[in-house]
């Protein structure tokens, strides 16, 4: 509603009504919007209170009765000088507010209003200090975080206690180790089986046969013995390397020497059985024809009599400390007899010094089973 129409309503109100009853009837006839504007013009709404309709109407009446009592206002209204009327009304309104407030105070209405004002002032004070507010917000954040962490730590403890009653589970490196532990019996069994089986090592009999066959090299053998086989050239062939040994030509007759030469030829032909029988008939021993003891012992090994061969090798080793060949074959005899520790002593000795049996001894040691 424009100010003009508002004033015209006011004018009608003043000029066309007489007495409270007519004025009340006038207000009730006004359209809703007009009524609201009329109400607003009293300033009641601006005072921030809401009143029951009847009370409001009484206040309106009281307000409009004020100008009616003024001769100046009546004159202005009669002259239709509406601008002047409005100014006069505004002036009177200003005074009226004070009266309205005082009346509200009496009714207790202003206590609410005062509370509202007080609350607003409190709110301003409450939020006034920027820094304090920021710290307060931070404190709230921190408190939330604190509660959260405490809850989580408590949760971890509950989980830990729960885990104690359940089968343990691990992750990462520990997990891998733990999973291996499950297979530990199987792994241990496999290791034991491998140790027993020793796939890269050979059995005693296998080593014995292999190295006996490969080592009995006639050429090697003959290199050491041509002089003993050949008839003496200028002087008797003295057996200097065996203590107490007598020269061959004095021990054996011509026939026996011929038999020995035949035995050596048979040895080259690997007819070991005949070699053994010939040499046994000639009673070869450490004291008699010690040089022939080695081929005899080797021939015995080939015929399967390793125990007696070992005894003969021992005699050779005892009388000739540097005879590597006898040591090697003796170690083979020990292997055949399952006496690996004793065999290892000779083999290590041979492997430790340069010679034709060094490499072979190393190989036998490598292939020999641990137990």
């Amino acid at each position: 509603m424009s100010r003009q129409s508002q004033l015209s309503v006011i004018r009608s109100f003043f000029l066309e009504t007489d007495g409270p009853q007519q004025r009340r009837a006038f207000v009730s006839r006004l359209p809703q919007q007009s009524e609201n504007d009329l109400t607003r013009s009293t300033g009641a709404e601006l005072a921030g209170v809401s009143l029951p309709g009847s009370t409001l109407l009484e206040i309106e009446e009281a307000f409009f009765q004020l100008p009616l009592g003024s001769a100046q206002m009546r004159a202005l209204l009669e002259r239709n000088n509406l601008e002047a009327v409005y100014e006069e009304i505004s002036r009177i309104q200003g005074n009226f507010y004070l009266k309205v407030y005082s009346q509200y105070e009496e009714d207790g209405a202003s206590a609410d209003h005062q509370r509202l004002v007080d609350d607003q002032n409190e709110s301003y004070r409450f939020l006034a200090d920027e820094e304090t507010f920021e710290l307060d917000v931070e404190a709230v954040f921190k408190q939330q975080e604190l509660i959260l962490i405490k809850q989580r730590v408590k949760g971890f403890e509950q989980e830990r206690q729960k885990a104690q009653t359940q089968p343990e589970t691990f992750t990462g490196k520990t997990g891998i180790l733990h999973s291996l532990v499950k297979y530990a019996p199987w792994l241990a069994a496999a290791c034991v089986a491998l140790v027993i089986w020793q796939p890269f090592h050979a059995g005693n009999e296998e080593i014995y046969q292999q190295f006996l066959t490969s080592s009995t090299n006639a050429a090697v053998f003959r290199q050491d013995y041509p002089a003993s086989i050949a008839p003496p050239a200028s002087r008797p062939n003295l057996e200097e390397d065996v203590r107490g040994e007598e020269p061959v030509d004095t021990v054996f007759s011509r026939l026996e020497r011929a038999q020995l030469e035949e035995a050596l030829v048979l040895f080259e032909d690997k007819r070991y059985g005949l070699v053994v029988s010939i040499m046994d008939s000639l009673q070869i021993s450490a004291r008699r024809g010690a040089k022939y003891l080695l081929p005899l012992a080797i021939a015995r090994m080939h015929t399967g009599n390793s125990e007696q061969a070992a005894e003969e090798f021992k005699q050779i080793v005892a009388t000739k400390a540097t005879n590597d060949e006898a040591r090697f074959y003796l170690s083979l005899c020990y292997i055949k007899a399952n006496n690996r520790p004793q065999a290892r002593i000779y083999l290590r000795e041979l492997a430790g010094r340069a010679g034709p049996f060094q490499q072979r001894s190393e190989e036998v040691l490598r292939r020999l089973r641990w137990f």
Binding site: F126, V137, Q143, R152, E159
Partner: protein, 197 residues
């Protein structure tokens, strides 16, 4: 001695900062027995229940420290945690001894908590204000996620404006303005609520 720690220290620190509870729980369990044996051996404590309290309290302090971005590890993570446990246990034993003598009950010293200065502030905060800030922050979380995230980074995670700017890939001035604006929104929301609730 072989290191049987399931994961590396760096991985656990990352887990604590990113909130990976599975890994943190794993570390909690892993360090528990080590800390227990050390504390029992070196601090004169032999009560399991007391140790559990001490361990939880120590882990809480440890957690708060490690979570800070500027945390620098100068030893193994387990050693750091056990160090806190030992201090707490010694303090506990000292107080127990004193209680035996004086009959007084005292709280444990709170030397490692990064929250100390805020705990008192929070305790002394007006209840109405506390409630209003919490409520409005919850609302902000739903209605203005960016603002909440910014305040969260600043106040909960202790990031500086510079760090936040790097994290959010924005200018530092923008971050400052946004933070100030977000605090302003929060303040206005609380003011409205104060007057109209």
């Amino acid at each position: 001695m072989p290191n049987l720690q399931p994961h590396s220290d760096e991985k656990y620190i990352q887990a604590i900062r990113s909130g990976d509870d599975r890994l943190i729980g794993e570390f909690y369990n892993y360090a528990f027995l080590i800390a227990r044996s050390v504390v029992f051996r070196e601090c004169g404590l032999n009560d399991d229940d007391q140790f559990k309290d001490i361990y939880q309290d120590s882990f809480f302090r440890f957690f708060g420290n490690v979570k800070k971005e500027n945390f620098k590890l100068t030893s193994q993570l387990t050693t750091f945690l056990i160090g806190i446990c030992k201090n707490q246990a010694r303090e506990k034993v000292r107080l127990l001894n004193r209680q035996t003598l004086t009959g007084k009950n005292e709280d444990l010293a709170d030397e490692y908590t990064p929250f100390n200065k805020f705990v008192d502030r929070y305790e002394n905060l007006d209840e109405r204000k506390k409630r209003l800030i919490e409520t409005e922050l919850d609302k902000m979380k739903v209605n203005s996620g960016d603002c909440y995230a910014l305040l969260d980074l600043s106040f909960r995670s202790d990031f500086s404006n510079q760090e936040i700017a790097q994290k959010l890939n924005r200018g530092i001035d923008v971050v400052k303005t946004q933070k100030s604006r977000c605090l302003g929104y929060l303040k206005k929301a609380i003011f409205n609520r104060l007057n109209y609730e």
